[in-house]
Symmetry: C2
């Protein structure tokens, strides 16, 4: 769909100029310098020749067909020009010009006008306030962008919301001579969307990996779907700006859009199998590995080194990040022992020692690749000045070339021996400067290996009573309110989530019948939308052992709480279990988030909660339970048995389905849910549900 954008047959530059600091001039120069394969038409009413090319007064004067234009003229005349482009049959217009949505109301109106004109005249708009696009495919060689990092062909594609960050992402690839495949920084995203470009990059067989930098998601659900499809085939590495509150404010002020919750981004990335990185350095170093290496089938790493210390730097980083140190078979160890120097260490990390020859290095790497317990290999090589360095580089290259497991090489050296690094790199093996970098690259590859190996399981079909829920929710249509307790529990029950037996009471005479249903001991609670923290407000009385106690408590509560909306409930008192909290929250443009955490002091003091996107599969629910820090509280520590984890995962699955099925539910809180050892199902003791009108 975006073929004419990334593979145009001809490009016109509207805003071409002889001024070398102008955008039009720079774009034209980039196209020329990179040998764009089609004709380039500078458009400028005052010139007949620009940068050695024939210039034309308007797009309508261009002799041949044009499918892409780059526009860098004044904002207010852009819509008019788009109309001309439509007449000419132009398919895509990259609008570099700023002064649209990002400057406020006036700019937004202009932007809408431009989109409208584009739609009417069949011109799709890229931008505005954008850099441009690049495609290094030698058949195209398009640099329709005003940036400065030179382009050479490679297998990494880059999609960046921030043009500045996009440029920063290109720099390390350029420095390593790795090149890139396609590039896009899409500005205000008024028409051509990030998701469309991402899909285009995903379908491009020339790209092995996609680097994505994003600040706000315009269409989160669309992103989720596109990204989920792509990550089955190739990795998407993501850098999300605004990790901190301060960062989020800065994002919001410079993009003019409201900030997306960072939590939502994490949940989306998790669900789509996108690998998130904390900074561009780690992301680009991972991309360098993905550019040529297959993902590993497990997480066991073997390390080869010629000096102990740097080997341990790599080891610490790898293990802290979650890799395992491969245990080498006896056969492997014996082979190494027979073939390496006497002082060498044949356990993992294998220390071939500083005086190792090329053959020692080559044999070691080959032997490790053959060990079935090794999923990936990291080779550390410090260029000790007393050995045959060229020979070692050659043998490492040979050994890595034939492997079907990923390998990275770390060469610690100075400019004198950069040729050795390049020789290894040219053979398709990633080379890093420092041990930790190599370890981080392998960590990223193992993360992606897990994404690829993970079965994508749909959320299960459930035996639920959706009609009953619809009918209850229907009573509150158009209202923005909390539901009464009894209604909330009935909704939960309809989805198979059990709660403590709860009966609404209005007056004292109702108490006896209620208690007959709940039994003793029971609990009396106030039930009012206006009382949010019931316990704190004195709206919960526990341990009511008989009718008299219940009546007394009811009397006290009636005195304390009054008003139209106030009701009360009598609830069966459950034996105390371990407390957990479950919740859901609707998301603009996306399905609801579901939250899980340990209750009580844990959530308050430790913020030990995790979020995922609904609906959950059984696998996802189990993974969610296992990702809290306080997991031993559930799985049992000294003297405490494990809780019914499957039962709890089931509640998560059902709650997530409920939230996903009824978008009118703005938020739910099940706080607490008591969980018990195997044999006793979890039970919700208190729950809130708010609908949005």
């Amino acid at each position: 769909m975006l073929d004419a954008l990334f593979k145009p047959k001809a490009v016109a530059i509207i805003g071409a100029s002889k001024n070398p600091l102008s955008i039009g001039h720079i774009v034209t120069q980039n196209l020329l310098d990179h040998g764009y394969k089609g004709p380039i038409y500078p458009i400028n009413p005052k010139e007949t020749e620009i940068q050695g090319l024939n210039a034309y007064p308007s797009i309508l004067d261009v002799p041949g067909e044009v499918d892409l234009v780059n526009i860098s003229i004044k904002n207010t005349i852009v819509p008019k020009i788009i109309e001309q482009c439509g007449e000419k049959g132009v398919k895509f217009a990259i609008v570099h010009t700023a002064g649209f949505k990002e400057i406020g109301e006036e700019g937004l109106a202009l932007e809408r006008e431009m989109v409208k004109v584009g739609r009417e005249h069949g011109v799709r708009i890229y931008g505005p306030n954008s850099q441009g696009v690049q495609n290094s495919d030698p058949a195209v060689s398009l640099y329709a962008n005003f940036t400065f990092v030179p382009m050479t062909p490679g297998t990494v594609s880059i999609l960046a919301q921030s043009g500045g960050v996009g440029e920063v992402l290109k720099i390390p690839l350029h420095k390593l001579g790795m090149g890139l495949r396609m590039y896009a920084s899409f500005g205000n995203e008024c028409d051509v969307s990030m998701n469309e470009i991402l899909e285009h990059f995903g379908n491009d067989d020339g790209a092995n990996v996609i680097m994505l930098q994003v600040e706000t998601f315009k269409d989160p659900q669309g992103f989720l779907e596109v990204a989920s499809r792509i990550t089955r085939r190739k990795p998407i590495l993501a850098l999300k700006a605004g990790r901190t509150k301060e960062g989020a404010v800065a994002v919001s002020s410079h993009t003019g859009s409201l900030m997306d919750q960072d939590t939502m981004a994490d949940a989306m990335f998790e669900k789509a199998g996108v690998l998130r990185f904390d900074n561009q350095d780690e992301m680009t170093k991972a991309a360098i590995a993905f550019a040529s290496q297959p993902p590993p089938s497990g997480s066991k790493v073997a390390i080869v080194t010629n000096t102990g210390g740097p080997g341990i730097l790599a080891l610490d980083e790898a293990i802290l990040g979650g890799l395992e140190l491969a245990e080498l078979t006896e056969a492997t160890q014996n082979q190494l022992r027979e073939n390496l120097l006497p002082m060498a260490s044949v356990k993992n990390p294998v220390d071939v020692i500083a005086t190792a020859t090329p053959e020692h290095y080559g044999f070691t790497v080959e032997t490790l690749f053959k060990d079935p317990g090794v999923d990936m290999v990291l080779v550390n090589f410090i260029t000790a000045p007393f050995v045959d360095l060229e020979g070692i580089a050659r043998r490492l290259k040979e050994a890595a070339e034939v492997a079907n497991k990923p390998a990275v090489v770390v060469v610690m050296t100075i400019e004198k021996w950069y040729g050795l690094m390049q020789a290894i790199r040219d053979s398709g093996t990633p080379v890093y400067d420092f041990p930790e970098d190599g370890a981080k690259a392998l960590l990223a590859m193992a993360r992606y290996g897990r994404v690829r190996a993970g079965k994508v399981e749909p959320a299960p079909e459930l035996d639920v009573d959706g009609n009953r829920v619809a009918s209850i929710l229907g009573r509150y249509e158009g209202k923005d309110t909390f539901l009464p307790q009894a209604a909330v529990f009935e909704i939960l029950e309809s989805y198979g989530i059990h709660s403590s037996r709860t009966v609404a009471v209005k007056e004292a005479p109702d108490l006896a019948a209620a208690a007959a249903e709940t039994g003793f001991p029971c609990v009396l609670k106030v039930d009012a939308a206006s009382v949010v923290h019931k316990s704190d407000a004195g709206g919960v009385v526990l341990n009511l052992e008989d009718g008299a106690a219940l009546e007394e408590a009811f009397g006290g509560m009636c005195e304390q709480f009054g008003g139209e909306d106030v009701g009360f409930v009598v609830q069966a008192q459950k034996p105390e279990g371990r407390e957990v909290i479950l919740g859901t929250k609707a998301q603009e443009g996306l399905r609801p988030l579901i939250m899980f955490g340990l209750g009580g002091i844990f959530v308050e003091a430790m913020k030990d909660v995790v979020f995922r996107l609904s609906p959950l599969s059984a696998n996802e629910a189990v993974a969610m339970l296992h990702s809290i820090k306080g997991l031993p509280v559930l799985t049992g520590t000294r003297g405490m048995p494990a809780v019914d984890m499957d039962g709890l995962a089931g509640v998560l699955v059902r709650l997530s389905r409920l939230a996903a099925d009824f978008p009118v539910i703005e938020e739910m809180d099940l706080n607490p849910v008591f969980v018990y050892p195997q044999g006793t199902p979890p039970v919700a003791v208190d729950a809130r549900l708010r609908v949005k009108g």
Copy 2:
């Protein structure tokens, strides 16, 4: 003391050779290439000339004085050669040769022999199994080392236990043309110690910062003292190998020493004000900043950028690491608004926008430096191709040069404009490639700023009864045992740590008198060294309301527990408070570690514990309390008041003093201590104390 090692008047190379891959040859060449200022004497019985220098058959044949020798001959003849060196008056011998302690018993014996000979003949031994030393001071220019990274003068000194890591640490400095001051990698540390070298580097006015890489501490207490003195004047940055269990094993197998607890290293670094880093990349990037910049006086950062996205990368990294975003004064904002481009953002981060001129950049940086709320400045500069780049670099250089606050500059560019980076760097302002790197450097500087600003407070004088403790402990002299409960509580009481009233009982008739002291309700506990987890073993009965209940419980416990060492205690039952755990553990070669954590499920499930070195000052105790993740459990969350933090800090101070005063105490556990809101002092409810014979 180490002057003759780092500033020798003459160097002899024992093991000099014409073989260019030999250690002797490489060391000689390094000395020659770097223009060592004194005479160099190759020693080789078979040659008369090596590398253009007169060679001598033995050190005794050298015509002039020699104060340093580099030795790379066979291990077994080294002691003999050391003897000759002594005759010649050599002061230091760098022994490169391996095959000593690191290969086992035989090597250890040889190493001891060598040290003995050295002592007898007045030759101090550096190494063995070591690289060597370097001193870039132009008056010396000593490269007495066989490594390959060229040396130029700088202000960073490097001390590395692993020669491989030492070399890796030099590489980034070399690449940036920063040079280094002194370097040492000391191998087996048989005589000249890491602490001596560290002290030497600390006293060297030519070094602004010291990078330290360490795997095992031979003399931890000595390190603590030396490092504490140095960090008052200049930063020590440390990389400790073996952060993981796997890494620790690898350290242990390649150094031949037992691994140091990582926890101990952290506690030592904390106490000494040493900044620990997780990897060499972050450490060297910090060193680059310390090489020329003063530490900031606070943690408020201002960020300048010419594109939004990279500004946010820097911001996120800075805030996540603990810096604050400076709030600019109205005056600052007004000045910026008047002088920058209309689209510029004058709030922090200040976005001067991509078309900013040199004057815009310069004015902004100067104005930010003048704002009293700004402690440090990070400047992001992406080399947009449409502005006067040289001018911007020049103005940034000018602005940063005159500041007395730290600044770092990030230049995002390609090789074409490396000259701009170098120009800024040459003016003494650190330049980084990426925004996150600049932010990390500032984070490290702010950490050191806090070290420098922190008052070093001695542990306070306490009113304690040391004689009473000595007398109790005296009863167990030479034994390796747990003490009875009553004795433990008496010891704690002697140091002002209160516990629940506890009376030892042996037989049923003792119960009444005991209960008269404790009152009811009381607790009955078994008291035996052999019963470690009393509760789990059924050795604790709570809630004894009267004499009958106590007697019954006693009967049951007597049936359950028997044996010589078994006793029982009756204890006053305290109202339940919040539970915390305090502990101490003796450390080989160092004062005891003290541990603090939240009790119960928190310590078991969350491992939320912190360690420091005893004795604690009041400040340190308070900082310790505040460094647990579950702090809100103590300071109070919804509906829960704060506990008596000062009282609890006091217990920590007293316990740490007790452990420090009596090294015979191998470990103590106060588990739990109940803490209460202000007004009720903390009370130890259970305690264990083990002495070591």
